[in-house]
Symmetry: C3
Subunit: 350 residues, 3 copies
């Protein structure tokens, strides 16, 4: 693909794509600015990386329209856009070769239950096991060794990588991606304590429902509801090793980073960002667009949209940063206290 | 099932089950009080939910015997018991349809090793792999794709969901449930540091032993002992993504919430409750009935039974809450310190 | 094996192996000093355990050459070395029976893609799925149900336990061990935020490269790079449930304990030790030989080799311990402050 073709391609997404330098160079693929070689396309979205403008061997660099690049155009061409980062993501998508997770069709070793409905153009991999009455939408890809128990439904264009497990009744939307090792719909952790200290299992009779355009990383666990549904809403993104307990509701376009843990019956709003290893106590609620720092411990509901939370127990960012500054200042407080003590003694002597 | 039948059923578990209202209504299944519809049974165990007494459409509600319900009996019947929460759990158990994890018998695609002993009425799913000399108790259910390496034994009525892995020598008791993706008996993390900075692997020659009535969530990891046994005692419940390292001993009826991590050679007593994401340093001991708060970091042994621990490093709840109150009070301390400083200066001037 | 044979065996590794007591006793295997029985070999590397010298039934105990054992030689023989712990590790290796993960050869149920190259003496287990153009080194062992997507290469003598998943393009070195349930090379967690609050997926076009002699525990996740490589260098050891995000580089002989989480583009030096549940913010760097305490939160780069870090946000150990001591002392500070306040009031009255 040459630079003119890339410019035309980006023109679909941006009002203005200004070319500076030659339109003719051939572009073989994308690379990071630090390691890009002749023939490759890269980007600069952050001033920190502007120093690479002079040294990069890249043949094309995507930059913000405000960046002056005139001195570099002999070796490098530039496309100027509003949002070079997103432009580069589109370029990555253009060059990405579709990954072959399973061959089109149904592998001869796959086991398909009774009453299964299968859409057009699916790919079902080796040793996949599809339970009775499952429904597989058109263009779905199911990796080798993935297991769907009974009554699971997958919307169109959904991709399950190898070795995903969906328990019975799980509902998965369209264009969902679930990575290997994730377990969707296992029993919630519910046990009723008895007088003798033992526990009686609370049957977990609900299901998990996953909306359209959700992506779930590897080895995550999303438990079914006790009654009703655990819901991952449209567009949410859930990273590796995340735990979502029974009866949670994760809002649209909310992002949860790796190893975060959401206890039972938590409701998280839309467009929230949850940091890695953050933890939530049960039965609480977060409003929309809340940001939770990594390793934070959320112990109560926060109902004001758009705030940032941090610390353990977590509190609004401003309060927490003030608190942390005070903690860093403890040594000075201690010294002042000792000085006052000495001065007071001195004064009393007199 | 009608209300009289539900009353008779609960009579097995409770000394007194008092009916208020009609015994005739037909009950189709359980539901949460907020969403229950006509024909459904629900419960109220918490005053917070008492406001739903007036509005619920449920045909039957289980309440504590002290609750006055006379004004609601036209639409709703009530069963009054000592412990409505547990009563509802028994009702859930009554209505729960047995989940079909694998069909009765041995799937034709399962691979069974040499010298395997298999009890009556087992269900072994598609592509399960059972190593040599394994022993499978009667009524066991082994999901699709579950792998037992050699010399694994499962007691009667044990259920392994799909894609569980048990390493060689693992001993599993009766009525145990292990959810998908959990790995039992992998090598402990043991490496001996060498002078050149590299490591020599310490062979992990022990096993894992899991007692009766244990339940283990999905994607948990329980490592084999270096020598001897890692033991999960009878009745313990272990949630998703929990790590139990080599040579640990988890006491009877102890509950460990999701993502907690127990380092090597830790001994936890009976009936303890370990919060989510809590972490334990190695080689320490917890007495019986200790409660550990979520995200706590246990850095030493606590040998007094029944205490509650919290914080990092964790300390008894009372001390920790006092400490946290003091932390919240830091701003006031700082102000007071500044006031004293000013007053002292004033005084010295005089 | 008798004691003389064990002495000769250890002589390969140590300059001096002094025998005290009989050389003739037959040794059946290793055991912990607390539980060792007649015929077994154990060790004492720590003074704490010296009390067992008088009571152990072990027929052979490995001790440091400085330990005086003359009074115990009637029942027990001793081998004195520089490093009894490492000596015992070598003895464990001697007695460890090779674990049978998969039978030699290629199981008839394994699915081998096109253009796969397979070395000599491999063992490929039941239902393993090997993608097109994979390369399997000699003496590799691939457990049942392990899946390699296309273009994966494994060096010689590498062992993948059952149910490992390697995504396309993963490069694995020689003598690597990966335990069950781990997922290598899944997509990094990269999504570009859009103006409407939704996300566009950033194609993850890089790979994972794992060096020689690496060991990875069970249910760990190591994500592929967005562009380029996520690299686990030679000799690194990674425990269960650890998350390594896209574009990280983990140095040689670095050890990462269970449930630690390393965010994207983090570089960790050689011979570091990362505690369990520690977390790293993205795009930062750690020098060589740094020790990170369990549950620490690393929020910035630390470039001084050999330091120890602790706390949240983590700081050098000395600063953090001083800080923690100050926190423990808060009560005393508060009392002193109140005393000064009272004294000052008293003084002002006069």
């Amino acid at each position: 693909m040459n630079i003119q073709e890339i410019r035309d391609y980006l023109g679909q997404f941006f009002d203005s794509v200004e070319l500076v330098g030659s339109a003719e160079r051939f572009i073989s693929g994308p690379a990071k600015i630090e390691t890009a070689e002749t023939g490759q396309v890269s980007f600069i979205a952050n001033e920190k990386y502007a120093r690479f403008l002079a040294s990069t061997a890249a043949s094309l660099v995507i930059v913000h329209r405000s960046v002056c690049v005139d001195e570099f155009i002999q070796r490098t061409s530039f496309l100027k856009v509003d949002d070079p980062y997103t432009a580069f993501v589109f370029i990555l998508q253009k060059f990405a070769t579709p990954r072959s997770i399973a061959a089109k069709g149904i592998a001869s070793t796959a086991v398909i239950g009774e009453g299964v409905s299968i859409g057009e153009d699916v790919a079902i991999g080796e040793y996949a096991v599809i339970g009775d009455r499952c429904s597989i939408g058109s263009n779905c890809v199911i990796g080798a060794h993935t297991v769907l128990l009974h009554d699971v439904s997958l919307g169109e264009d959904t991709v399950l990588f190898p070795a995903v497990t969906c328990y019975d009744g799980t509902i998965v939307g369209k264009r969902v991606v679930i990575h290997s090792g994730s377990v969707i719909g296992a029993d919630g952790f519910g046990f009723a304590p008895q007088k003798d200290g033992s526990y009686v299992k609370i049957p977990q009779m609900g299901i998990v429902e996953i909306g359209d355009d959700v992506e779930i990383g590897s080895n995550a666990t999303i438990d079914r509801a006790t009654l009703g549904r655990t819901v991952i809403c449209r567009g949410a993104k859930i990273d590796n090793l995340v735990q979502v307990a029974h009866n949670c509701r994760i809002g649209e376009d909310t992002v949860i980073a790796a190893q975060a843990g959401i206890s039972g019956s938590v409701t998280i709003g839309r467009q929230c960002m949850i940091g890695g290893q953050a933890g939530f106590a049960g039965h609480l609620e977060l409003a929309d667009r809340i940001q939770v720092a990594a390793q934070a411990g959320i112990s109560k509901s926060f109902l004001q949209p758009g705030i940032a939370l941090r610390g353990y127990p977590a509190q609004p960012m401003r309060d927490q940063l003030k608190h942390e500054a005070m903690l860093r200042n403890l040594g000075a407080m201690k010294e002042k206290l000792e000085r006052l003590d000495a001065e007071l003694k001195e004064l009393k002597k007199k």
